[in-house]
């Protein structure tokens, strides 16, 4: 049974490639474990509810996405429940934030903001659990001093020939500066936060979650696109160089919405739309 099916798929793929037709257009679902939320900038504040809880105005500047009500005092999921956000889907009222980008002293808001939830990074996507309600995750290194201690990635949208870098890159006119950040996806199974805001989470090791952090959750990948091209001169984040790019996530997805997406998209390796459905 197996061989002819693979054969057929290969032939369809070849024909599709020759005609430049995406294979998905033939009615086949895309076999990538993914759901997503697109959340434009909501507001900008010198607040950080994870790193500087309750200390309004004490942080470097952050751009907030998703939940409109997030402030320094948003320290519990209950403080964000019942509030509206600007994500597509609207059911995602989570809060996400990053340091503000500046050119000299002018703040620049990203115009494309997508949060992908992925099944990649672990060998067994079927075992991925829903992200726990109220989980707080920080990714990236706000204290990075160079490439060696940074996981930032900067590149250019529509200019694949520009090599990605851990610091800002010069994007040709007509293209956009973009940055990717992958959040740790292995949870310790007990704590929704930790004193250093990092040690309750871990990245996978060799395709699996380590025994210290045995619970596999969807990998959050943040992709931001800024209306920036040309020289990197004067570009800085509120936390410093491009290498200090970091992101914070406070999960307030309604439990049922998160669980449905993990079941329908991640566990069965399907690419879902904003509503969490696949073709």
């Amino acid at each position: 049974m197996k061989k002819p099916v693979l054969h057929l798929a290969a032939i369809i793929g070849l024909i599709a490639a020759a005609l430049s037709i995406p294979v998905a257009a033939q009615g086949e679902p895309v076999r990538v474990a993914e759901f997503l939320a697109e959340c434009p900038i909501s507001h900008r504040l010198a607040d950080d509810p994870i790193v500087l809880p309750n200390l309004a105005g004490a942080s470097h500047s952050h751009d907030f996405f998703g939940n409109h009500s997030t402030t320094a005092r948003s320290t519990t999921p209950q403080s964000l429940e019942g509030q509206s956000g600007n994500c597509n889907p609207v059911s995602d009222i989570s809060s996400y934030w990053v340091p503000t980008l500046y050119r000299n002293n002018t703040a620049i808001a990203p115009t494309g903001v997508t949060f992908y939830y992925l099944g990649e990074g672990v060998n067994n996507p079927g075992a991925i659990q829903p992200t726990p309600y109220g989980l707080k995750i920080v990714a990236g290194n706000a204290k990075a001093t160079g490439d060696h201690d940074s996981i930032a990635r900067w590149s250019c949208l529509h200019a694949g020939h520009v090599n990605p870098s851990k610091n800002f890159v010069t994007c040709p006119a007509g293209t956009m500066l973009e940055t990717y950040l992958d959040f740790p996806q292995c949870w310790d199974g007990r704590n929704l936060d930790s004193a250093d805001h990092k040690s309750h989470m871990s990245y996978p090791v060799a395709g699996g979650c380590p025994s210290s952090h045995p619970v596999s959750v969807p990998k959050l990948r943040m992709v931001l696109r800024y209306p920036v091209s040309g020289s990197t001169s004067g570009l800085r984040l509120a936390s410093g160089t491009g290498q200090t790019m970091h992101g914070d996530f406070f999960n307030v997805w309604p439990r049922a919405e998160m669980e449905r997406r993990v079941r329908n998209c991640i566990n069965v390796v399907m690419k879902c739309d904003h509503a969490g459905n696949h073709g």
């Binding site: 309004a56 004490a58 500047s61 706000a142 199974g189 566990n267």
Partner: protein, 153 residues
């Protein structure tokens, strides 16, 4: 086969164990996440500010920052980690500003004033958020210092 395995596992999926309250929210003696975050931030800010006011040579400001650093360090319940180095934090002079202040008296005066006004804002915010009494007393001390320093011109 992968699909079947996925469906089976999905069906058997367990609700993650509800986690207890986040560990850093509070401590038995009231020195909780907000206090810890404030103290670490205030040390980072005062250490940078000290470099700036030492350039200015104002002995009262130098003495006040040093006193605050001693009091702040007494509050630490874990080894100090600077989480804010290199960041553009309210009231915290950046290395670039300190460098500029070393050659320009006008810039130095402006940066000292900005340090005082911005850190006073942060202290007022902290004053309304902090419940741990020993930390609150240091916040009050720092507010008194800055209010007097600003009045002193």
């Amino acid at each position: 086969m992968v699909l079947l395995a996925g469906l089976l596992l999905g069906a058997c999926q367990q609700e993650p164990t509800p986690a207890g309250p986040p560990s850093p929210t509070s401590a038995a003696n009231g020195y909780g996440a907000t206090e810890r975050a404030f103290v670490e931030l205030a040390i980072a800010t005062d250490e940078q500010a000290l470099k700036l006011v030492e350039l200015d040579g104002n002995t009262a400001l130098i003495e006040n920052r040093r006193t605050e650093l001693v009091e702040l360090r007494k509050l630490l319940d874990a080894p100090y980690v600077n989480n804010h180095a290199g960041h553009d934090m309210p009231g915290m002079p950046t290395d670039a500003e300190i460098q500029l202040a070393s050659t320009s008296p006008d810039a130095r005066k402006q940066f000292v004033r900005t340090h005082l006004t911005e850190s006073l804002e942060v202290l007022r915010s902290a004053g309304s958020a902090i419940t741990h009494q020993p930390t609150a007393e240091v916040v009050e001390l720092m507010e008194r210092h800055r209010t007097a320093e600003l009045a002193g011109g």
